[in-house]
């Protein structure tokens, strides 16, 4: 079993509780995730959908593990993009760990496919979102690039 994965780490000056809320609560994700929000049943086995501002479902899956504000594991499928939505589900693991006055956020995203356009696409998107949620929590402002849903997608 040779999983294909990427691992991103960022340090954010905040508390695990605030970061957890910023990653899951609609009023926060709407600010830095291009207007998107989670329609989710946040418990083990619960379903989640990432809603696009125009009402479409962007991505979806199940909650595999949840331990707020420390660990969240999601089964993650694309729903709306032709070419990506037929791929088998990926797995996203988010771990929060307090380090001094900051929180270390580790994001691991993996698939069983050796070649995965979905994982490539996610690996491009996450750095923007991580930088933007960091900016939101540390300065009160998300990054300009991630504020609005891109036109024509």
């Amino acid at each position: 079993m040779s999983a294909n994965r990427f691992v991103y780490v960022t340090y954010i000056r905040t508390t695990p509780e605030k970061l957890w809320q910023a990653l899951t609560a609609p009023e926060f994700t709407r600010q830095y995730w291009a207007g998107c929000w989670f329609d989710a049943d946040w418990r083990e086995g619960g379903g989640w959908k990432l809603m696009i501002p125009d009402g479409r479902i962007g991505d979806a899956g199940e909650v595999l593990e949840i331990d707020p504000p420390r660990r969240l594991v999601l089964r993650w499928k694309n729903v709306f993009l032709p070419g990506l939505r037929d791929e088998p589900a990926t797995r996203c693991t988010i771990t929060l760990e307090p380090v001094g006055a900051s929180v270390r956020l580790m994001l691991e995203h993996e698939t069983e496919l050796a070649r995965s356009p979905l994982l490539d696409s996610l690996s491009q998107g996450w750095p923007h979102l991580l930088a933007s949620v960091k900016s939101l929590l540390e300065t009160g402002e998300p990054l300009e690039v991630t504020r609005h849903w891109p036109e024509g997608i």
Partner: protein, 108 residues
């Protein structure tokens, strides 16, 4: 941010990042295979990269796997590049690549 620039100011460490960019999730032994450096030197360079958060580490059983972490470089780019500039810079980079390829140059 100082740590990121210091970590990047070394050709061997940049070669290690290139190697992870080509193939993510390598062990120390795998990373050593591609470089003319001792295992100790590679381990030391990896520790600097990890300290600067340019490399993230995952344990898989007894094996330590190394992953390129682009987040600090992304934060640097966000700090100095506006979104319109980024688009123009990408076009310029493409133009440079195309012109240099047309000249038959072999350098990048």
């Amino acid at each position: 941010m100082d740590e990121v620039f210091k970590a990047l100011a070394d050709a061997s460490r940049r070669a290690l990042l290139d190697s992870l960019h080509a193939r993510n999730g390598q062990s120390l032994s795998e990373l050593c295979a591609g470089l003319q450096l001792t295992r100790q030197a590679v381990a030391k360079h990896l520790a600097v990269l990890e300290q600067a958060n340019l490399v993230a580490v995952l344990w898989r059983g007894r094996e330590k796997l190394h992953f390129l972490n682009p987040v600090p470089i992304h934060e640097i780019a966000e700090r100095w590049l506006g979104k319109y500039e980024r688009h123009r810079l990408r076009l310029l980079a493409q133009l440079k690549q195309r012109l240099e390829a047309a000249e038959g140059g072999t350098e990048e």
